[in-house]
């Protein structure tokens, strides 16, 4: 059986900044209808990889492919036009503006002619109401400020905006990191929906507990290198955690902390 052509692929990509090599010989592919998790600690090369995929950086070596064809993006706008949308951690949403105004910022639907050209706010409101309704966010009024939404809802609106404006590849940068368990589950549910609709989702995180339930494929990064790509059936959550830089450190920390909490171990007395 032939492998389907990945929507987006990096082959042997290296990215240097001066003498620093941020990405080394990285190969990576994301397929339609799959959630591909990129895991790694801070400094593992996650952000360089995102920025390469989203057109902020160009590879120093190696080649990027979209639909199997080699491409070189010189700006994020070009990546957007090719259907590669990135939802950055800070979301690029403006809290004081309404949901509708944010949703269509930079792509306002217009009506009327000449000096009477104006935003078709009614149509925009309807679209926002429907789009958000589809993902289970029922806004009472699309004209309410984005700031009134919860963190998870904001994340979902940012994703919905990318999807509505034609994204085929969705790059999510730490979409759940700032969220509580309940809010994170809202976002994860929506990511699952996006996958169902045939999008390729690239999910960047350092939180394996959010990544493992949703991910189909996992790529571990450490110091700019790929430690390998694994399908979900081939690897357990614990193995993923171990492979991530810091996995062992966390275990050591756990053992260390256990000693602190044991009553009568002497530590308590020393503190009081």
């Amino acid at each position: 059986m032939a492998e389907p052509v990945p929507l987006i692929e990096l082959r042997n990509v290296t990215r240097r900044f001066g003498s620093v090599t941020a990405l080394r010989d990285m190969s990576f592919a994301a397929h339609a209808g799959e959630v591909h998790c990129l895991l790694g600690d801070n400094g593992a090369g996650k952000s360089t990889l995102i920025k390469t995929l989203s057109g902020v950086h160009t590879p120093s070596e190696g080649q990027m492919y979209v639909d199997g064809k080699p491409v070189t993006f010189s700006s994020p706008r070009q990546a957007l036009d090719a259907g590669i949308a990135t939802v950055f951690q800070d979301l690029s949403m403006i809290p004081l503006m309404s949901i509708t105004r944010n949703f269509f910022l930079g792509r306002e639907p217009l009506k009327g002619w000449g000096p009477a050209r104006r935003i078709d706010m009614k149509a925009a409101d309807t679209i926002v109401y429907d789009q958000l309704g589809k993902i289970g966010i029922n806004v009472r009024d699309p004209q309410q400020a984005v700031g009134t939404l919860s963190g998870g809802e904001r994340q979902c609106v940012a994703i919905a905006r990318a999807v509505y404006h034609g994204a085929r590849v969705l790059i999510l940068d730490e979409p759940t990191s700032a969220l509580g368990v309940h809010q994170a589950s809202i976002v994860l549910r929506y990511v699952a929906q996006a996958r169902q609709r045939g999008l390729a989702v690239i999910f960047i995180t350092h939180n394996i507990h959010h990544a493992y339930p949703i991910g189909d494929v996992f790529t571990m990064l450490n110091r700019g290198r790929s430690l390998g790509t694994f399908r979900k059936g081939d690897i357990t959550e614990k193995e993923v955690l171990d492979m991530m830089a810091g996995g062992r450190e966390i275990r050591e920390l756990q053992q260390e902390l256990e000693r602190f909490t044991k009553p009568g171990s002497g530590t308590e007395a020393a503190i009081s």
Binding site: I94, M97, G106, E108, G136, I137, N138, D141, A145, T148
Partner: protein, 372 residues
């Protein structure tokens, strides 16, 4: 408020009643505070200044004219503030534009329309310079335009004194009082209506039967027109959406492809143009130019915009609010005069009003951005 339901079974809740939604939207409007303030001011003066002449036709014409001139500035300043910037060179620009017209007419023998056109062209250049300086240097506009405040005022004084030996330029409109351009900016409108009202005894008349107040200042029409245009831009157009975005978070705006620098430069051109419109109106009404015209107007316009609901940090506000801010300003200034209160108290009132407005705005902003 939002309700999250199961993503797999999305269901819309029943649509809220349009009336309650409209009420919620109304409560959220930035100009609500300024409208409330206007009502309070009118009630207060209605009680204390009822018979002083403030609400006679002459009094109304007076406070509307004062409000109108400030309101023209406040509309443009509101837009700029929503875009996240300040223009402190505004008052000096008024003086500069005034003497530009004065010198062009009296020294270079140009016609009034030509002089006015030149003043507007210079305004576009000054505004663009302000804007380019701010977006290129990424310095706070507060400091960049503060420099502009002194440079423009200094230039105004130096050039005028060098050329004429004085600081005032009289006799600008001599012999042209009836021309269209002088009427358009410095004239009065509504004369037939006032004559009719006077002849029917509705408003005060002179012994010869003509109306005491022969018409309203054209500046009032300009005020309404400028406010309407600013509101249209802000609320209805793509440019307005970008103004909110640029002031709310310019990095986020840039990320989605908004031309942030262009928007800001255009807003600075807008305030310089409004200052020049103010100058043209004053010069053609009075027939003379003064190098000190417009002193402190930059702060008064900011106060009117803030009373009108603009946030000092940008991203929120309204041009209609600024209109009411200017109306409060003009009414109180004239009201204090008519009621015979020492006018020194005006500044105390102004400062207090500003403080209250900032506190209210801050509260509204917090309410608007916290998750419900």
């Amino acid at each position: 408020m939002t309700i999250v339901t199961d993503a797999l079974n999305p269901a819309h809740p029943p649509e809220p009643k349009p009336v309650s939604r409209r009420l919620v939207r109304l409560m959220r409007r930035p100009e609500l505070g300024a409208i409330t303030g206007t009502v309070i001011v009118f009630l207060a003066f209605g009680i204390t200044a009822g018979n002083s002449g403030l609400f006679s036709m002459a009094g109304i014409a007076n406070f509307l004219q004062v409000s109108a001139q400030l309101g023209i500035l406040a509309a443009a300043v509101a837009l700029l503030m929503i875009g996240g910037e300040f223009d402190l060179s505004l008052g000096s620009m008024i003086g500069f534009a005034s003497v530009t017209i004065g010198l062009c007419v009296t020294q270079f023998g140009l016609s009034i329309p030509a002089a006015v056109a030149i003043a507007f062209v210079i305004a576009i250049i000054v505004g663009a310079l302000n804007g380019i300086l701010v977006v290129r240097t990424r310095l706070p506009s507060f400091i960049v335009t503060l420099a502009g405040l002194f440079i423009l005022r200094g230039l105004t004084l130096a050039i005028t004194r060098t050329v004429t030996g004085r600081t005032q330029i009289p006799y600008i409109t001599d012999g042209q009082e009836g021309s269209f351009v002088v009427w358009l900016f410095g004239g009065k409108f509504g004369a037939p209506v006032f004559a009719w009202l006077a002849s029917h005894g509705v408003i005060a008349a002179r012994p010869d039967g003509s109306a005491m107040v022969q018409g309203l200042s054209m500046s009032i029409l300009w005020w309404v027109a400028v406010t309407a245009f600013a509101t249209w831009l802000l609320v209805k157009t793509r440019f307005g959406n970008w103004v909110f975005a640029v002031g709310g978070d310019d990095r986020a705006a840039r990320n989605v492809g908004v031309p942030v620098d262009r928007v800001k430069i255009l807003l600075f051109i807008g305030t310089a143009l409004s200052a020049t419109l103010f100058a043209v109106i004053q010069v053609l009404e009075a027939g003379s130019a003064d190098t000190l015209r417009g002193t402190q107007k930059e702060f008064q316009a900011i106060i009117a915009a803030v009373i009108g609901g603009c946030l000092l940090t940008g991203g929120y506000g309204s041009a209609i609010g600024a209109m009411f801010g200017a109306l409060i300003f003009g009414t109180v200034e004239m009201g204090i005069f008519y009621t015979g209160i020492d006018t020194d108290w005006f500044q105390v009132f102004l400062g207090s009003m500003l403080l209250i407005a900032v506190l209210v705005n801050n509260y509204v902003r917090r309410k608007a951005t916290e998750a419900r």
